[in-house]
Structures are given as C-alpha cells and as structure tokens.
C-alpha cells in the first residue's frame, strides 16, 4: 500500500510538473466557461422548456466536445513514455507489483481528470451567488451529473490507459484512444442519425449511449444499469491493460 502511494504520488507529480498539464487546464477552463455562458444564454431564450442550468450544461455539444478531448492527452504518456525512455526497466526491477504500477498510473490519471472538472462546480456556485437560484432543481441533479461524469471518465481513462500500454509512441497511443473513444461515443448517436432503424437496434444503441445516460442522470434520475455497465467496462479494460502490460514484457 505504501509502495502504491509512492507510485501514485510520482504519477501525480509528473503530471503537474509538465507545462502541458497547465496548457490543458487553461484551455479546458476556457471551453467549460464558454459552455456555461452558452448554457445561461440558452435558458434565457424565450420558448425554452423549463430545464435546470445543470441539465442544460451537461448536455450541450460544447460540453461533449470538451469532455471527449482531454482523455487522449491525459493518458497517452502513461506507459508509452516509460517504454520509450526505458525507465520501465528501472521501475519493474524494483520490488513493486505490476498491479500496483498499473493502478497507480490509472488513478493518477483519474486524479488529474477530477482536478480538470472540479472548477466547473464553481460556475454553479457563482450562478447561485449572483441570482440567488440553485443551478439544479434538487441535490440529485448535482449528484447524478457528476456521478455520470466520473463513471464515463473512469471508463474512457481506462481505454486511454490500454492504448498507452500498447505502444511506445505517445502520438500513436493518443490516436488509438481518440479513435476508440470517438467510436464509442458516436455509437450512441447512431439512432439519432438514422431515425428509421428498428426498435431493437435503437434500444440497443441507447443502452450504450453516453448522451442518453447523461440526459437521464442530469435530471437526477439515477439508473443502476449504466453504473454497472461503466464500472464493469472499466474493470474489463483495466484487466486487458494488465494483460497487455505483462505480455509486452514477455515479448520485448
């Protein structure tokens, strides 16, 4: 456990020491800030159905754009960089378990993801302070939105982790995870683009649609099915990552 913590601290330190982290943070805040501005604008338009600020905020195209973008950037260096620099050799000849290294890297990335999204909470605080109105209709809306944000993040970070374990080239890792995450994401839009598909296919795609999940969770409707889905997909992807990580050592 102590070794895991040492490894995790190292991962976090490595992220926050690179200038890239602050570039990502800066542009991310710009994007989410813009999204917030657009959200408030949208709500003020006449003829809008009565929606809470949170509900709109977590369902705009700007939100999804900003959501998908950081994953490849956060995860691409995790393993690829260590392979490239050869530091993996020093790391894996120290008495640490493969699982400790994998989880430290994964949870280090998750920590940065949380840091990335945490400031968005301020927007709703500012909204409350300025207007005297709550941004969500109930506490469940807050819990639901951020829970779905975390669940989706966990799964997509695991995909990025897997992509990074596959190659020693960070760019290749970024491209793999970007393509995989985009495919998974747009899969959910399938029934939107082709409205004439059968009911079965529509239901099937909606079951995997992050947009549908976020829509229901941001209304405060906490469904256990997506929770189980994303937790198990995360576990599965991390399991694959572990296998790839070990396999590469057998092969190299």
């Amino acid at each position: 456990m102590r070794k895991f913590f040492t490894l995790w601290k190292r991962e976090v330190a490595m992220v926050f020491r690179s200038p890239a982290a602050y570039v990502i943070l800066f542009f991310f805040l710009l994007l989410t800030g813009f999204n917030f501005y657009q959200t408030v604008n949208l709500i003020n338009q006449s003829g809008m159905p009565r929606l809470s600020v949170l509900e709109v905020y977590f369902n705009t195209p700007y939100f999804w754009f900003g959501f998908v973008l950081p994953f490849p950037l956060i995860t691409m260096r995790l393993f690829a960089e260590e392979y490239k620099l050869g530091t993996i050799e020093a790391l894996m000849t120290a008495p640490v378990r493969d699982t400790q290294v994998l989880l430290a890297k994964y949870l280090g990335a998750l920590f940065f993801y949380v840091v990335l999204w945490a400031p968005t909470g301020l927007y709703f605080l500012i909204f409350w302070w300025q207007t005297g109105l709550s941004a969500g209709s109930s506490p469940g809306v807050f819990i639901g939105s951020y829970a779905m944000l975390l669940l989706l993040g966990m799964f997509y970070l695991a995909i990025g982790c897997l992509a990074s374990a596959l190659t020693r080239n960070q760019i290749v890792a970024a491209i793999i995870s970007f393509v995989a995450i985009s495919l998974l994401f747009f899969w959910g839009l399938y029934s939107l683009w082709f409205p004439n598909v059968s009911r079965l296919l529509r239901e099937f795609t909606e079951y995997f649609s992050p947009i549908a999940h976020m829509a229901s969770f941001s209304q405060g409707l906490l469904d256990t099915r997506p929770v189980v889905l994303y937790l198990s997909l995360t576990a599965l992807t991390l399991f694959f990552t572990f296998q790839v990580f070990q396999y590469r050592r057998w092969k190299v």
Partner: protein
C-alpha cells in the same frame, strides 16, 4: 548468490541466450564479457526479473526470479544499460523515490541516501535536475539507485560506457570498494577494467558461455607464456637465429632487420621462459642488446581467441 540452470531466452525465432548455467558465490565480483549481441544484457535482464526466461531457471539468494520475483528483486540492485532516469526529478528526490519503492523508510532512508550520495560523489549535484546532469553524473545516480537499499547483489550493465578515462577510474575504484560488502555481476567491453576489478570472468558468445575462470587462469589457458622479443646487434643474422633456436624451450625464431639492429621474435613452448638463457647467449656472443622482453598475453587476446570475431 546467483544460481543459473539452463537459462534460455528466445525472441521469436532468435535465441539470445542458449541454455547457460553458472553460479556466483557470495562476495565474488564477476565480469561478464562478450561481443555485442552475445546475450549479456538479456541474461542480466532475466536475472534482475525484468524479462521472464523462455526456459530454465535462475535463483537469486535462493529465490526464483520468476516465481518469487518480488523477494528476489528486494535483494538485487540493478543498473540498466544507458541508465534510464526520470529527467524531471532532482537527484535527492529521485533517490528518495527509488528508496521508497524498494521499501527503505524513515530514518534508514535518510541514512542510506546520505551514504550512497557520499559514496558516489553526488553531494555537489543533489539539488540539480536529473535531466541536466552530465553522463558521468547520470551514471553515478544510477549506481547510487542500485545500492540504496543495500542489496546483496549488484547487477551493473555496462556501468562505465560513455565515461571519460578519469570517470572510468573513479567508477572502477567504487566498484572495487563495493566488492567488500556486495556480490557484483558487471558487464563491460573494457577488458583492462575486468582484469583490474573482477575475481572471475564469464565470456559469453552467441548466447553460450565460452569460458568461466579467473582472468589470470584464462590467460594461462590460452598460452602459458607469450613470445620473447630480442633486439640486438649481431654479426651474422642466420648464425644468431640458429644459436637462439638451440636454446631449450624455444619453439621458433623469426628475425627482421631494422637498420643495424636485428629484431628476433622468439616463440616459446608452454611453461618455458628462455629469457635468462637468451641473455646468457648474448653476453657470451658479445651482442649489444637494447631490448629483451616478453609480450604478456592480455585478456584481449583471450577474448579474441574465444569469440573469433573474424568468423
């Protein structure tokens, strides 16, 4: 300390290490020699639990490198080739991180880091970023990292590569001193270094162990003695050649002329040293002599003989 049985590593169709077996006792300093691609690094990587062997087994201090890898790793200080380091960390920070990973904690960590920094001469760079260090200092950081948890066994893969002659001498001294408390397995291309530091040499070629002995025994095995060189002024070259050939222990004599001096290369038989007799002959014949010497067989000759690079 190290026990290797039939260790084999194959990469696809290529056999890097082919069923080698050897043992290293506690306190030995063993030099690993061999041309590039002989399987030295691969063997060291398997011993340090980085690569799993294809077949065969290896034990470090009684722990199997594959089945009891964590226990074995706790007892090994490994310095990989080219010393990969995290360039964004400061020297003390890096050593603290590595010590923590290897289970060194609290007061002992402070002591150990102080000790290895003194030992490796890192005091004047302790606050510097690893990425800004010169090659020599990087090498020393790698060495300090390998020693920080007081391992029983040090595995050093080419610790002096890329260093200048002064730094090589410093590292060599350091390794010699370490040999008092640690067992050391060291690979290198610099043969004089092996002769100076190692108590035993393993010569690897194409994945097999070709020789394993003390450096002086290896030399003895090649030719008991080297050729004798005589430079003298002689009246008659042919007569002098015949006279030399008659001396006991002399196998062959060839002569060349360098101006008024004659240069004889005297081939000797095994275990024979005819220098005294040659001197006596020169005195008797009244030859002025300017050189009488014997070429020592170097480890380089042994290395060349065993690994046959010309093939």
């Amino acid at each position: 300390m190290i026990k290797v049985e039939n260790l084999t590593k194959r990469y696809g169709g290529f056999t890097a290490v082919n069923g080698i077996s050897f043992e290293v006792g506690k306190g030995e300093i063993v030099g690993f020699l061999g041309p590039n691609g002989a399987g030295k690094s691969t063997t060291m990587r398997m011993l340090s639990c980085y690569l799993p062997p294809t077949s065969g087994r290896a034990e470090i201090a009684g722990f199997d490198v594959f089945k009891q890898s964590l226990k074995a790793r706790e007892r090994i200080g490994y310095m990989p080739e080219n010393v990969p380091l995290y360039s964004d960390m400061r020297v003390t920070e890096y050593l603290r991180y590595r010590a923590a990973l290897k289970g060194v904690r609290g007061r002992r960590m402070k002591e150990r880091i102080g000790d290895v920094m003194d030992l490796c001469g890192l005091r004047d760079v302790e606050r510097k970023l690893v990425g800004n260090l010169s090659k020599g200092y990087r090498q020393r950081v790698g060495l300090a990292d390998a020693m920080v948890h007081e391992p029983d066994l040090l595995i050093l893969d080419e610790p002096t590569i890329g260093l200048d002659p002064n730094q090589i001498r410093q590292v060599r001294e350091l390794i010699k001193n370490l040999g008092r408390h640690h067992t050391i397995l060291i690979s290198t291309h610099i043969l004089p270094e092996v002769e100076l530091t190692c108590s035993r040499v393993l010569i690897l070629n194409r994945g097999r162990i070709e020789a394993s002995d003390a450096p002086e025994n290896l030399r003895a095995r090649l030719h008991a003695t080297g050729d004798v060189r005589l430079e003298a002024k002689v009246a008659d070259l042919e007569k002098a050649k015949d006279a030399l050939a008659e001396i006991a222990g002399v196998r062959s004599v060839t002569a060349t002329e360098e101006g008024e001096w004659a240069v004889f290369a005297v081939g000797t038989e095994i275990d024979a040293d005819p220098r005294e007799a040659i001197h006596a002959l020169a005195v008797k014949q009244n030859w002025p002599v300017r050189e009488l010497s014997r070429n020592r067989v170097t480890l380089e000759d042994v290395f060349t003989e065993i690994t046959h690079p010309e093939e």
